[in-house]
Symmetry: C3
Subunit: 350 residues, 3 copies
C-alpha cells in the first residue's frame, strides 16, 4: 500500500526512533500568517528593531509556531490513529529560530501502556526539533492514546516514563545574547509590569475573547502540516463522535497565549513547557477566553536583567474568565474549560 | 491591575502625547496576506520589476497596509473604549515603506469635546507613523467618540481643532524618485486611462462586488494588531447592539480601494487622506461594492509625468453602484452606503 | 468607459496577441499562504535544505502556484465573460520559479468556434508565463466558452486547433540541476515509493478529505489576482444559476494535488499538464477527496536518477474514493466527481 496508514499501538516499541518527514523552511510568510491567525502583540516577535535593542539579530519566530511545526511533523508517524492527545511535559526551547531556517524532527518512543479495554494504548514519545545544523531547537514529551489495529495483538509490558512535574529552572535555555538590561522599552512592549511586579499565586483575567472560524483553524493546522484527519474533513467528522471538525489543541494554546498579552505583555518568550492538557474540545464558533496564574518565580542564574515566571494558562470557550473558572477539588474541569497549560516565560526585571 | 482598561474620555488632556506599543516589522508575508484579503491589482505594489521601471527600488507596501498598521497601534491607547470612529482628516503619506521596515507610532491629543449627555466625548488625535530611522511615513488626524468611565467626572473645556477640508496639493508627498515619464507601461498597469483622461465631477461605477467572511476580516484586523473588541468576540457582541461582530472600518476602505482598480487602475498610490466616514456598519456576509467620483485634479509642482486626482470613494453593502447611491440633500446616507472616503492619488500623465 | 467590460466572443481574432496586466512578484508570503490553504507536504517545495540536497538553489514555488498566478492574469482579457472553463492542454513548466521572482503573462488566440446557439463561442488561447528575464516559465493552452455581446454579431470561420493528446516526454523540462541520485532522502520525503515502484494502470486512493470554506477559496483566488466574478460576489451569485459562489477550479486542482501526497509523496514536481476538466462545480462546505491512476511511465532522456509518471488525478466532493468513482462508458461523470486532471510528474528512481 502506497498510502500511509499510520502506526497503531501494537506497532510501537520502547526505544524505537522515528525520523519525521517533510523538513520545513519557515519564513516571513509563516510569521505573517501566525500574526493574522492569533493577533499576538509581543514586541520581541513583532519588531526586528525591538529584538535588536535587546540583543537578538532580529525577531525570532514565535515559540509556539516552532512548537506547532515540530508537532505537525510527528503526526503522521505518532498520532494518525490517535483517539486523544493526552499531555505534554519536559518541553524546552533550546535555541531561537529565525525566518529562513529549516526545521526537521524526530522522536523516540519512551513509554507504552495498553489500556485495559485492549482497544487502545498510551504512547509516550520524546520529540526533538532541529535546525539545519542539526542543533536542537525544541524538545518535549507528549503522550497520546492510540488505537490498536487488532485488539488481540500482543503488546510489550507496560513502560511508563517518569516525567518531571516541571522543568527545573537550570535546565531552561535563555538565549545568552538576550539582554533586557537598560534598553528594554516598556512603552514599546506594552506594559510597565516586569518580573518583579508579579507574585506567586497571582491570577490575571486576560479579558479579551476571540471567536474561532473553521477557515482559521484549518489554515493554521495546514500551515503546520499537521495532517490529523479530525481537523479537516466535515464529511467524515459530521458522522463522528462530535458531528463536527475538532480544532487542533495547539490552536487554542496560541490563541490563549496571544490573549494573555493583556496582562503579561512582558512575558517575552516561552522557554519551557511543564505540562498541558486539552481538557475539553473546541469547535468553530466558540469564543476563547483565558486567564493566567503565576505558579512560581525564579531568577535566571548569573543574570539580573531577566527572570523566569512559571505560568498556568487556562483557556475557556464561551465563558469570560473574571471568576477564574477552574477544575474542582476532584480535578474535574467544567465543560467550558478547554486548556490547562503550564509553562515558563522569561521576563525583564526592574 | 495588569490588564489595560484603555483610556476613558476623562483620562485625555489636550497636548497629551501617547507612545503606542508594539513596533511592527512588515514583510513579504504581510504583503501576501494583504493581497489574499483584498485582491488588489495595482501594478506598483504588485511587481518589483514594475516598481523599478518607475524609479522605486522595489514594490512599496500598499499605503493602506501602512495606514492600518499605524492605526492598529493607536487602538489600545485611544479607542479601546470607543463607541464609534467618527472621521479622518489631514492624512499624508510621507515616505514609501518597503518590506522589512519597522513601523512605530505615537499620537498627540489635539481636541476634546464632551457630549451633552455626559456619557461620552469626542477625542481628536493626530497620529504619526515612523520608520526605524524615526522618519515620519504617515500622519493623520482621527476623531473618535469615547465613553466616560464616570459620567460625573469633570472634564476640561472643549477644544475642537480646526481641520483642513482637504490636504493642499503642495503638502502632499510624491516620492521624488517615482518617475512615470516614459517607462510607464499601461499594458502592464491594466488601463490606458491616465490623469489627463479624468475630469472633475466624473463618476465611475467599479462594478465588482466582494462578499466578506468572518474569518477574513478577523485575520485582517489581527494582522494590523488592532485589538478593538467588537471585531473578534461573538460571545459578547452577540448580546450587544448589533448582535454581531462589527467589521473594522479600514477593512472596507481596503476592499473599496481594491475594487476601484476597475476604473482607476493607474491611481498608483494614495498620497493623502482628506476625510473619511464609516457611515453604516458592515457585517460578515455583506457584499461590498464601490463607486468613485473625481473631486479635483491638480498637477504635481515641477513635474510633467504625474498628476494628482482627488477622489471620493463610496462603498456600499448589498447594493451595486450603477446608480451611484449617495447621501441626500440633508447629508443623510442610505443604509446600504457604508463608507464615504476622500483621498488624493497620484497618477501618470500622458 | 473606464472599467473593463472584458472581451466578448466576437472581440477575439485568431492570431490576436494579448498582454496581460499586473506583473506579480511572488515571495515567501505567497509560499506560506499556499501552504496554509492546501497543506501540501512535498519536501522539495517545503524545505530549502531538501531542495539544496537535490541540486536546486532553494525551494521552488509550487508549480500550481505559478500556474494559478499566470492563469489569473489572463482572466480579465480572456474569460471575464466566460460561461465555463472547458479544458487545458499542452501545459509545460519550463523553468522553476523562486521566491522573489516576478511573473508576467501574455496569450495568443489560437482557435475560435461559435456555438450553434450563436449566444456563445469557444475561445482557444495559448498562454505564456514569463519571469523578469522574459524567459518562459510556463506555457499552456486553455479553451473557454465565452458569451457573445450580440448574438447577431458576425464571427470569423471556425478554427479549432489540433492539440496534443498528451505532452511528449521529450518536450518536458526537468530542471537540469535537479539530481535525485544519491542524496534523495525518502525518510524526509515521506515515502519509500520511487518511480520504479509504480505501474501503469495502478490506482491509488488518497484517503484524506478536506472541507472547503468560503474564506479559503476567496483568499486563494485573490492571491492569484483572478477576478472572475462568480467566485466573490454572493449578492449576485445568490440570484444566479447555482445560488452560490462557485469555487475557482484551480483551487480544486491544488487541493487534490496536496491530498495526493498520501500515496505519491515522491512525485516532486509537476512538469506537464496533458489535460484537465472541471466536470462538476464545487461549493463551500463540500469536502474534497482524490484518487490517482498511473497512465504511463517514461524515463527522462540521458538520466538514471529520475523518471516521469503520467498521472490522472480525479477529485470528488463528499465522496471518498475507495471505489475510484469515474466516468461511465459514455464518458459521463457522476455528479460527485469534480475534476479529471492529467499531468506529468518527475520522481526519483531507485
Amino acid at each position: 500500500m502506497k498510502t500511509n496508514p499510520g502506526n497503531y499501538f501494537e506497532d510501537f516499541r520502547v526505544g524505537q526512533k522515528l525520523t519525521h518527514a517533510t523538513p520545513r523552511t519557515l519564513n516571513h510568510g509563516d510569521v505573517a500568517l501566525y500574526q493574522a491567525l492569533y493577533g499576538s502583540r509581543f514586541a520581541l516577535q513583532s519588531s526586528d528593531v525591538f529584538a535588536q535593542a535587546v540583543g537578538l539579530p532580529k525577531s525570532p519566530l514565535d515559540d509556539l509556531l516552532v512548537f506547532h511545526t515540530v508537532f505537525g511533523k510527528s503526526v503522521p508517524d505518532i498520532s494518525l490513529n490517535a483517539v486523544a492527545n493526552l499531555g505534554y511535559a519536559e518541553g524546552r526551547f533550546l535555541k531561537p529560530v529565525y525566518p529562513g531556517e529549516t526545521l526537521s524532527a524526530h522522536s523516540e518512543v519512551i513509554g507504552l501502556k495498553e489500556n485495559s479495554n485492549k482497544q487502545t494504548g498510551v504512547v509516550y514519545v520524546r520529540t526533538h526539533g532541529l535546525n539545519a545544523k542539526d542543533e536542537q531547537v525544541l524538545s518535549y514529551v507528549r503522550w497520546v492514546m492510540v488505537r490498536k489495529r487488532n485488539a488481540d495483538a500482543a503488546v510489550p509490558a507496560a513502560v511508563v516514563p517518569k516525567l518531571a512535574e516541571s522543568v527545573a529552572p537550570q535546565d531552561l535555555h535563555v538565549p545568552p545574547h538576550l539582554n533586557f538590561d537598560t534598553l528594554f522599552d516598556t512603552a514599546l512592549s506594552g506594559s510597565k509590569h516586569r518580573w518583579d511586579d508579579y507574585t506567586a499565586g497571582e491570577k490575571i483575567d486576560h479579558v479579551d475573547g476571540i471567536t474561532v472560524e473553521e477557515a482559521e483553524h484549518m489554515m493554521a493546522t495546514r500551515l503546520y502540516q499537521n495532517t490529523a484527519r479530525v481537523h479537516f474533513n466535515q464529511f467524515s467528522e459530521g458522522k463522528g463522535r462530535f458531528g463536527r471538525r475538532l480544532i487542533y489543541g495547539g490552536h487554542v494554546i496560541s490563541l490563549a497565549r496571544a490573549i494573555s498579552f493583556n496582562g503579561l505583555a512582558n512575558a517575552q518568550m516561552i522557554v519551557g513547557i511543564n505540562g498541558g492538557r486539552h481538557v475539553n474540545p473546541l469547535f468553530a464558533g466558540g469564543t476563547v477566553f483565558a486567564w493566567s496564574q503565576v505558579l512560581d518565580k525564579q531568577p535566571v542564574a548569573h543574570r539580573k536583567d531577566a527572570g523566569l515566571l512559571r505560568l498556568r494558562l487556562v483557556a475557556t470557550k464561551d465563558l469570560p474568565c473574571g471568576e477564574f473558572p477552574d477544575k474542582d477539588d476532584k480535578g474535574a474541569y467544567p465543560e467550558n474549560v478547554i486548556l490547562d497549560f503550564d509553562y515558563w516565560a522569561v521576563m525583564p526585571r526592574a
